[in-house]
């Protein structure tokens, strides 16, 4: 197998086609008798009030921000982890400095109470 991405690309295509096939099969076989009540939004029998695309709590956003930064950090750590075995001990210290800098950021926003759910 000279290039793994050929196999992987085929896998992605087949892995997408199989769920699509399931939905298409259901669409062909299933009955279709829509009526307004059936199509209305399901809210346990209550009438829907207003548009459902409402705003949400800004707090979710803060956690998404923290996630973004730490996600990028882990991306940097993967090359570091790969090269650890064949580089001097000094390289391990570099990675530790890298992690400590970001943990300091986490500690700061924790102490400022920004991680508290209000």
């Amino acid at each position: 197998m000279e290039n793994p991405w050929i196999y992987l690309g085929l896998f992605l295509v087949v892995g997408t086609i199989i769920p699509i096939a399931a939905i298409v099969m259901a669409a062909i076989l299933a009955p279709r008798k829509p009526n307004p009540i059936k199509l209305s939004t399901y809210e346990c029998g209550m009438e829907t009030v207003g548009d459902s695309w409402v705003q949400f709590k800004a707090q979710y956003y803060v956690f998404a921000l923290a996630f973004l930064i730490f996600d990028v950090e882990t991306v940097f750590l993967f090359p570091w982890a790969l090269s650890l075995n064949m580089m001097p001990l000094f390289v391990a210290v570099e990675g530790i400095i890298f992690i400590l800098i970001l943990l300091a950021g986490l500690y700061y926003i924790w102490q400022k109470g920004m991680l508290d759910w209000v």
């Binding site: 993967f78 570091w80 390289v91």
Partner: protein, 166 residues
């Protein structure tokens, strides 16, 4: 046409059509979803260019984090986002003109390049291991590696502080 060319054209078409949808569609959640299509196309291009690490990182960072953040931000600021009204400002013909001029200039510059018709050589060694050693070895890019962590620290503290202020 070789298989490689067919893949390139399909991906390029996906990228360009999706990019046009990103800048023209009125519904901003749809714009963010089209952006995801662009990013996925770019990941496919990275895979064809033998940069496997960047291909997966593209999906992990861009689709998994940045695009989600965009969708969250659109939903947070939705109240007076009227999808019916025009989403472009009055100067859009100027913008289109500038973009076309920029494209023409870039194409002209590519025409001046002496190695524009270059073909791919063999990949020397294992790019993944070469990348990881280059990123952390002291005589290569370790400074960039450490500075990136300082930048991420600044972004973390700044962004969380700005977003969280009561």
């Amino acid at each position: 046409m070789t298989a490689e060319q067919i893949i390139f054209f399909l991906t390029a078409a996906l990228i360009l059509i999706s990019a046009l949808m990103v800048v023209t569609t009125r519904n901003l959640v749809h714009a963010a979803l089209w952006l995801i299509a662009v990013l996925f196309g770019a990941a496919v291009l990275f895979a064809t260019l033998d940069a496997s690490f960047l291909a997966v990182v593209q999906i992990v960072v861009y689709i998994g984090a940045i695009a989600i953040l965009f969708i969250f931000a659109v939903m947070l600021t939705r109240r007076n986002l009227l999808d019916k009204v025009s989403q472009t400002n009055a100067g859009w013909p100027w913008a289109a003109g500038i973009s076309v001029a920029a494209f023409a200039g870039l194409v002209f510059l590519v025409g001046q390049m002496h190695n524009a018709g270059a073909q791919k050589g063999e990949v020397s060694g294992d790019p993944l291991m070469a990348l990881s050693t280059a990123l952390v070895s002291p005589d290569a890019y370790v400074l960039a590696f450490e500075v990136a962590s300082i930048m991420l620290l600044a972004a973390l503290v700044g962004a969380v502080y700005i977003a969280n202020r009561k």
